[in-house]
Structure formats: structure tokens, C-alpha cells
Symmetry: C2
Subunit: 600 residues, 2 copies
């Protein structure tokens, strides 16, 4: 049976020492997050994740969700009780606003808790995770009445939420949506159509389910400019806030999937269901993007968390399983064989996993801080820079983070050899679960185009220029520290590759936009390497100082420095290769006629 | 439902025009492979694979194998009938020796047929595939009586074979085997022990199953020097060749796996089963390596074949599914959206898949020729060079080929978006099936160490030096051809990286063998890139000539040239990055104490 231990030590290191949460205590909401409270939240959340959710992960995968003929959906054994406990403990309320019953704590904590819950049980964590996205959209675009009606119950976890975008004929291309919303005399709309791939669309965890649905009002403009957002509750809410009559929305089927079996992925049928417009008519897409951006960061955290749990199980097997001898001579001559961890190729995979998970954790938590600084920082400059960085990093965290999360899960499974392929050992589940994160909330190719086609150019490249400068500055100051000079030089080189790639796009994408498209995936990966490099420099700088000052826990800080070196040695070389791929442009890639692709 | 079309056109191109099979018609066995016969075999095998085996692939995955309480195992519906047809058509006999009822045709054809069968249905193709490995071992090490007793029935497919190496406590490290073989007065041995992960260990496809089993004779030296090979039939064979009494070997359980559900992976219990020594006492490992080397090439072909079938289904979806618009403006303005194939990132994945599958196919088929030239070529020099190359390329075909096969299967699934995650669409199966190929027959880390630790150094580096020279020569002659000059220069550069990496190992692995281990995986991947590069140069040279000479089918040859350019642009840059990773050595990778890896 696989196990999960929440990486609380590393999380507290990032929150306290790397992003320095206490530096922001004068900002609204941050004062609640005293060091003691932070430690208590992290440790308790870790305990809950490891003890309550973790043990349900493998059985949940095995059992899956079941749909009855009446359209009701049952989650795996134990999920409902675990959700009751989750709700009772208030895990969904941490960074929700106080006026709606939340604890109003910094998003950083919400991100950290999300990582733990997702690492323990990704399919479970999606139920509250999607609710958070729906709450964001209601907070941003809903009327005060809508907010009052839905948000407190959703924050409390009494009602859960969903996002309804995809239809059979449209996923990425939301302009193709055909679900209709006919105005009714009472001010509501009658929603009719079929939505597919609706995560948590139907289940038995909450008394109501609040669907946010994209649909088209008759006469609306074609394409994405004619899409509106509606709130469609499973049970219509009475004026007194109680749950009323059943709405005409139902689960027509649940999908059989490669992974996340314990999360119900539903076909949702809307048969004239009552819905209420959220925000302005035909402005649904911008409202949806608020949910989507939050959700994309959440999906990036899924990549991190599946890599983390896979890493932990890779480590335990590498320490326990004995095969062969160290190349340098028997490490444990009295045993019949040495543990796997003596083998360099096993180490390579484990160190790659450390370098990714720890760097990615820092990046996600930093982004969690930036999300809030974008609203709350003291100066307009700081707010703008934070907002720019969130915009730039979101597709990277989602796209690079989930590509790598899957890679790491796969290589951790590799350590298990044949035993990793056996269902009962539970590590192949991490690969299957991690796989979806590369696909949903905008497939990673869409993330790459978001980065290259939208985020780079916005405001004359302001965000990427600020990012370049930030990395350069970090490299410059790290070069002054003896133990970090080589690491800094290597990371500075990746920043140089990123600048060169950016310049190449500026010079070549105007003439042919396919030149940008052809390199977008590679560019996203270079940016991911540079962003992790920035995190590694920051972490390594803290580690050097802690070791110099002898603050204790030397082994932890030593391990940070070694892992930083590993990152510099094994991750940075790819940046150059990726940049050279970009330089090739679109010509050969786009040359073949479509009919040349079939085999015969 | 996914589909599979055997890539007969491309296969015939490689056999006829790239490796030039007819150049060898004076060698024994090759005279039987006239161009007409080759075309007939390839086309008929393709038809059989696509029409008979392909349709059983997805249902076989869904149904899996079942074990009854009596230990018997039932394969999925249709498998038995398909195997009867396979046997009746003689597909297992193609390259088997004529004196045992085979058709005695070149191995190249056997490899091509194996690719088709495996592409159509990997789990099915493993049943005859493992039999081929067992036959190789019997032909190499069995007594004339053993050969006469088992081989004809196995070649005919009436009896199938297995390889029994792994035990619960040992996979890679066969020195840990504890299964015993006690000598009996009648000259047989009583085999006792448990073997796990035995593919095709029990099933209902054949009247007998011939197990080749590694075990230890009492008093044998410890470790790998005390292991012997035994043939242990499920039913003991009577003197007249008929099937006699049931032997004391049985299937104790079948595994639940991530993929290849339709192949029964068995726990095999040997309870004093009658076995007969194959070859010399305590020399079992060398006999097993004969099977294993053949099997490793077969597993490399699994990587190729799963990439190929995934590619085909990626193409069909990219041509059919419409989302969004081309970056250069609507490609089909009258439709609501353009097909996916207009998007550069989709093209990137498809072209990467073409570059891999076509290059890998050429490499596998060339290796199929070399396997035979190593025995049959006219001069000792030619035989030696062929044998050297087979030794060098086997771990590359297995390790690089299956790593890339999985990557390609994953990216083809990505093209399908959310639909690729749904079981019924069948493309996620290719990923799950491809995954095992990186693990079994020596995990890819073991392949990398075989390459770096054994194959490089053997005979003073003779094999790799010959390979360097062969690539250099190919690059030199390609540089003279205008359309190929740039491609050749890029591939020559990868050969330079490989030389530099080889030199680095020579200089640094003696002082610390971990320096070799730390770079072995990267080295295997550089070698894979160079080997595919060599194939692409050869294919491109043929294409240029065919286009110059106007031999017809210009679209096919044009596509070869474009794909060669894509390979040069998008695969070769990685060689430099990989070489730089090797240069970092083992220091940081091996520095952390084992107890630093756990989280808390």
C-alpha cells in the first residue's frame, strides 16, 4: 500500500524562510497568519491529509464512482465521511473571505493545504477544489444577492460547486458552445444543452451542487463574444436559503477514465433548467477565466502533488528493496544485496524528483503570495508587478508543472520495477491520476500558446522583462556567494536562453505566427526551468545563511544545497536544447500536407 | 474505437530501399525472400494484424484474463480463435529454421511481422513472442533430443513458451534466485520455488506450455555463477511426442496490472516439477541471455509499435476534430472551426511521432538484418562488425526505444484532449501498455548500464568506434547532397557529442564508476538520437535519389525529406544537453545520505 506524508517541513521552510510570509503582516488578512498559526494550520492539514484522505486514495481508485438509474452518483466508500470531517475541520474555509464565513487567511496557506490534500488523494481534493473555483467566479462577478445566497454554504462545504464549459463538440474552442439560455419572465433563464467532462457534476457529498454554466442567449453574437455565465443549482434555493425543488439538471452518465476514478466525471443534461445570469450578458468568458485561472494554478499543484507522493513511495522502495551491488563495491557487505538507492540511475530519478518537487513547491507558494499581492500590496507598482507575474507564471505552473509531474510520477514508478506495474502496489495510480492534469483546464499546448501568444506580448512585454530582471538580479547576488557561484552561473545561462528565445519570437512571429506556435511548448519549458532556477537560488541562499549562522537542522539545509546543485547540473542544460528547437521555426513542422500523415 | 493499419508501405521502403535486403540474396535463407515473397508476407501480415488482432485489442484490455480456482487461465474472448488463425497462417514460423518446420526466412521479416502484430495487439503478440525467445534458447543450448522434442511444436504454435526468471525477492539481481533443482535418479531435476511476473505463464491458447526456468542445483556456487536453466513442460511429453501427465507446475495467481491486461502475468508455483537441464550446469545465465537479448529487441519493437498505433489514432483525431482556427487565418473558413492539424503544437507532436516511428522502424529492421549477418555474412570481419553492432544497439533499441515509445503514446493521447482520457476511446490503453516495455526484460536503467558498463568497453571499444566511423561516413557523404547538408551537419554534431561523452567516461569512470552510472541513462539517449540520425540520413539519401530519378510516389519521398528535417531540427539539440548532464558526474547526485530522502 502506498503512503503519503505531507511535506510539512519543506512547506514551512518555503513559507517562513523563502517567501517570508511574516514580512507582509501589515497587509489585510496576513495579520491573522502569525508564525504559530501558520505552523498549526500546516501541521494539522498535513495530519488530516495523511491520516484521513491518504488511506482512501487507492481504495477509491479501485472502487470508483457509480451512477444509479435515477442519475444519482455514489462516491467510493469513506468519501462522504471524509468530506464531513473535512467540512467540520473547516479545511475549505482557510483562505475564504471572513464575511462569507471563511478564515480570511493568506492564499499561500490555501495553496499549501491544497497540495497536501491533493497529494494524499487527488480525486477527493477535486470536490472542494472545484468549489473554490466556482466561489471565485461568484465573488468576482456575482450579484450581492447571488453571493449571499450561494457563497457562505459553498465556503462551508455544505454545497459544492462545478464548472460547466465543455460540450461534445467543443473543448478548447468555447466559441462552439451551443447550450442555450432562454430568458424566462421571472428573470431567470431556461438552460438547455449537454455538458461533458464535468468533474464532480453529481455526487453524494453535499446537499446541493451549484453549477456554473456557459450558455448562449438567443440572438447573442456568434463565437466567444456571445457566451454568458449562469448559476444553475441542482436544487433551487428558497428565499430563506433552504434547499427547494429539484432543478432540471441531471447526470446522464459518468465516464470511465484512465485515472481519478474516485472523482465523478459527468455528462450533465440541462433540460430547461433554471439558471441565473452571473455578471453581464455575453461576458461569460471573462467570468469563466477568473475561475479558470484559479483552477489552472490548482491543476499545477496537482502536478506537484502527484510528483511528491510518487517521490515518497519511490524513496521508500529504494531504501527497502535490495538488488545488486553499488558500483563502488558492496555498501552493505553483510546483506545479500544493497538497497536500490546505491545505484546512480535510481539516485538520478530520485534527485530529479527532489529538484522538481521542492522547486515547484516554492514556485506555487510564491505564486500564492503574488495572487494576493496583486490585490493587496501597498503600492500600485507592487500590485502591478505581482499581477504581471501571476499572469506569466500561471500557464507555466499549469503546463510545465503538470508535464513534469507526470514525468516524475513515471520515473518513480520505474524505481519499483515490475512491482510498479501492479495495481495493488498503488504507484501506477499516481501516473494515471497525474496524466489528466496535462489535459484539463486548457491542455498544455493551450497553456503554451497562452504564454507565448498572450502573456508575452501584453503591455509591451512588461511581465517577461520584469521576470528577466528579477532572475538576473538573483543570479548576480548569488554569484557573490562562493557555494552558489556555479549554480548561479548555470541559471543565469538559462535566463539568457529565455531572453534569446523571446527575441527570436519578436523577430519571427510577426512574419509568421506559426513560428510562435511551433516553439510555444519549448518556450513554456524553458520558462519553467528558469522559474524553478529562481526558486532554487532563493532556497539555496537561505540554506547557506542558515548553515553559516548555525541555526540548527543542518542536514535539511545541506540537502537543499545538494539538490540545488543537482538542479543546476541536470535541469539547466535542457534550456539550451529547447532554445535551439525554437530557432528552427515552423517551416518543416508545417510543411506536410494533411493527407501525408495517414499510414498505409 | 481505435484502429490500426499496418505501416506496410514504410516497412517495404525500409526493407527494399534502405537496408536493401536483396543485396544479400546469396546468403543462406535470404534467397527465399524474393521481392515478391517479401511484399506478399508484409502485406498479408499487415492485413492479418489489422483485421484479426486489432479489433481484439480494446475488448481484450477491458475483459482481461481470468484464473479459475483450479489454476486454469482463460484469455479474453476471441483470443483463442485468433491464435488458431495465427497458427494456421504460419505467422510464427516465418524466420524459424526449416529443419524445425519454419519457413527459414530472414529475421528482418520476422521483425516486421512482429511490429505489425504488436501494434495491432501487444498483449496478444506477447504469447507467440515469448515462445520465440524460448525457442532461441533451446536452439542455442538445448540438446538435439530437447530440440527435437520441443522446437517443432513451438515453432508451429501448438505449444507456447515462457521465460521464468523473476522471484519475489529478485528481479534485476538474478544472483538472488532461490528456486531449487534437485537431481532425480532418472536424470531430470525436481524444480521447487515460486516465480513471479511470468508473462503467458498459463492460458488456454495451446495444448502445452514449455517453461524455461532458472534454478539452483544444491551445492551450486552462490550468486549468478550457480544458476542453471531447465525446461519444464506443463504437460510432460511422452516419448512419442504426445502430451502426457500434468507436471507439478501451476499458476497460483494472475496479477492486476496497469496495462497488457489480455496477457496473463502469472505467479508460477513449482512444487517439485520435473525439469530437464538445458545446456551446462551453472551456466544458466548465459543461456538466459540468449533469450533475453532476443526478447530485448522484441521489447524495443513494442516501444515502436505502441508509438505507431498511437500515432495513427492521433492523426485520425487531428484530421477529424475541429477546434479553433489556424494562427495564420482560417484554413477552412466555411466550417465553424479548423481541424486540429492546423495547430503547430499538434503538428509538433505528430511530427515528433513520425520522426521517432519511422527512424525506429528502420533501426529495428536494420538490427534484424545485423542479427543474421552476425552469423551468416561472408567474411569474419563482416560477421564481427554485425555482432558488435547488435550488442551495442540492443540496449539502445530496448531502452531508448521504449522510453520514446511511451513519450510518443502519451503525446498522441494529448492530441485527443479530454477524450484521450476516456477508456472507451482506446488511446489511453496505448500509454498503459507501452509503460511496461520500459520495465521488463531489464528495466531501462539496466539497459543503460549494459550499454555503458559492458558494451562500450568490450574489445577495447571496438563496437562504438565502428559506429562512430559509420555515422561520420554517412554524414560526410550526405553533406555532398544539397538537400541533406544541414541535416547531416546536425547529425554529425550529435555524433561529436557522443564521442565526447564516451571520452568523458573513459577519463572519469575508472576513478569513480558512479560517474558512469550517473550518466548512463543520458548516454543511452544520445546513442538513440545518433542511431536514429543515421537511419534518417540513409532514408533521406534514398528519398533524394528517388525524387531525382522520378521513380514515382513523390509524396512519400517528399514526406521522408520533411520528416528528416524535423528530426534534425527537434531531436538533435537534446544530444548536447544530455552530454552536458553527463559531464556533471556523480558528485552531487550521490552526495546525500540515504536518510535525507524521506519527507517529514
Amino acid at each position: 500500500m502506498p503512503t503519503f506524508t505531507a511535506p510539512t517541513r519543506d512547506t514551512l521552510f518555503v513559507i517562513r524562510e523563502v517567501i517570508g510570509l511574516s514580512d507582509y503582516e501589515e497587509l489585510p488578512g496576513f495579520e491573522a497568519a502569525s508564525p504559530d498559526i501558520v505552523a498549526a494550520v500546516i501541521n494539522e492539514a498535513g495530519k488530516f491529509a495523511s491520516e484521513v484522505l491518504g488511506p482512501l486514495n487507492a481504495p477509491g481508485d479501485r472502487e470508483g464512482c457509480t451512477r444509479a438509474d435515477d442519475g444519482s452518483v455514489t462516491t467510493p466508500a469513506g468519501f462522504r465521511q471524509a468530506h464531513d470531517q473535512y467540512r467540520a475541520a473547516g479545511w475549505g474555509t482557510i483562505s475564504a473571505p471572513e464575511r462569507f464565513g471563511g478564515q480570511g487567511m493568506p492564499d499561500v496557506l490555501g495553496f499549501a493545504v491544497a497540495e497536501f490534500m491533493t497529494g494524499a488523494n487527488m480525486a477527493f481534493a477535486m470536490y472542494p477544489g472545484l468549489t473554490d473555483g466556482a466561489v471565485s467566479a461568484l465573488l468576482a462577478k456575482g450579484s450581492p444577492e447571488q453571493q449571499a445566497m450561494y457563497v457562505p454554504k459553498m465556503v462551508a462545504g455544505e454545497w459544492l460547486g462545478t464548472m460547466n464549459l465543455t460540450e461534445p463538440q467543443c473543448g478548447t474552442d468555447l466559441g462552439l458552445i451551443t447550450t442555450t439560455a432562454d430568458p424566462s419572465p421571472d428573470g431567470s433563464h431556461a438552460i438547455t444543452g449537454t455538458k461533458i467532462f464535468i468533474s464532480a457534476g453529481e455526487h453524494d457529498l453535499s446537499e446541493n451542487i451549484i453549477h456554473l454554466v456557459l450558455a448562449r442567449i438567443p440572438g447573442a453574437p456568434e463565437g466567444t463574444k456571445g457566451i454568458s455565465l449562469f448559476v444553475v443549482p441542482k436544487f433551487i434555493v428558497n428565499d430563506d436559503g433552504s434547499v427547494g425543488e429539484r432543478n432540471a439538471v441531471s447526470c446522464g452518465a459518468i465516464e470511465h477514465k484512465m485515472g481519478i476514478h474516485a472523482n465523478a466525471t459527468c455528462v450533465m443534461n440541462y433540460d430547461g433548467a433554471k439558471g441565473w445570469l452571473v455578471g453581464e450578458e455575453n461576458k461569460g468568458l471573462s467570468a469563466m477565466f477568473i475561475m479558470m485561472n484559479a483552477a489552472r494554478l490548482g491543476v499545477g499543484i496537482q502536478g506537484l502533488s502527484q510528483a511528491e507522493v510518487a517521490y515518497q513511495n519511490g524513496v521508500s522502495y529504494a531504501l527497502e528493496r535490495r538488488q545488486g551491488r553499488a558500483l563502488t563495491g558492496p555498501a552493505e557487505p553483510d546483506a545479500k544485496a544493497d538497497p536500490l538507492i546505491v545505484h546512480p540511475d535510481v539516485r538520478r530519478m530520485l534527485m530529479d524528483a527532489r529538484a522538481f518537487t521542492e522547486g515547484m513547491r516554492a514556485l506555487c507558494l510564491w505564486c500564492g503570495l503574488l495572487v494576493e499581492l496583486a490585490e493587496k500590496a501597498n503600492t500600485e507598482d507592487e500590485r502591478q508587478q505581482a499581477d504581471d507575474l501571476v499572469g506569466l507564471l500561471t500557464p507555466v505552473i499549469k503546463g510545465y508543472g503538470t508535464d513534469k509531474g507526470y514525468d516524475v510520477a513515471t520515473s518513480m514508478q520505474q524505481i519499483w520495477g515490475g512491482h510498479g506495474y501492479i495495481v495493488e502496489n498503488g504507484v501506477e495510480q499516481f501516473v494515471r491520476d497525474a496524466r489528466i492534469a496535462m489535459i484539463y483546464e486548457g491542455a498544455n499546448g493551450v497553456q503554451a500558446m497562452d504564454l507565448v501568444g498572450r502573456k508575452l506580448a501584453r503591455n509591451g512585454g512588461r511581465a517577461i522583462q520584469a521576470f528577466f530582471a528579477m532572475v538576473d538580479q538573483e543570479c548576480e547576488s548569488a554569484k557573490e556567494i562562493e557555494q552558489l557561484a556555479d549554480i548561479a552561473a548555470r541559471i543565469a545561462k538559462t535566463n539568457g536562453e529565455l531572453k534569446a528565445a523571446t527575441m527570436w519570437f519578436m523577430q519571427n512571429a510577426m512574419a509568421n505566427p506559426d513560428n510562435a506556435g511551433a516553439g510555444a511548448h519549448h518556450y513554456m519549458h524553458i520558462t519553467g526551468i528558469v522559474a524553478l532556477g529562481l526558486m532554487w537560488l532563493r532556497m539555496a541562499r537561505v540554506a547557506v545563511r542558515a548553515l553559516d549562522e548555525g541555526t540548527g537542522d543542518a542536514a535539511f539545509y545541506q540537502a537543499k544545497l545538494v539538490t540545488a546543485r543537482h538542479f543546476a547540473e541536470r535541469y539547466t542544460p535542457d534550456a539550451g536544447a529547447l532554445r535551439r528547437k525554437i530557432d528552427s521555426g515552423a517551416a518543416a513542422m508545417m510543411e506536410l500536407p494533411a493527407d501525408a500523415f495517414a499510414r498505409g
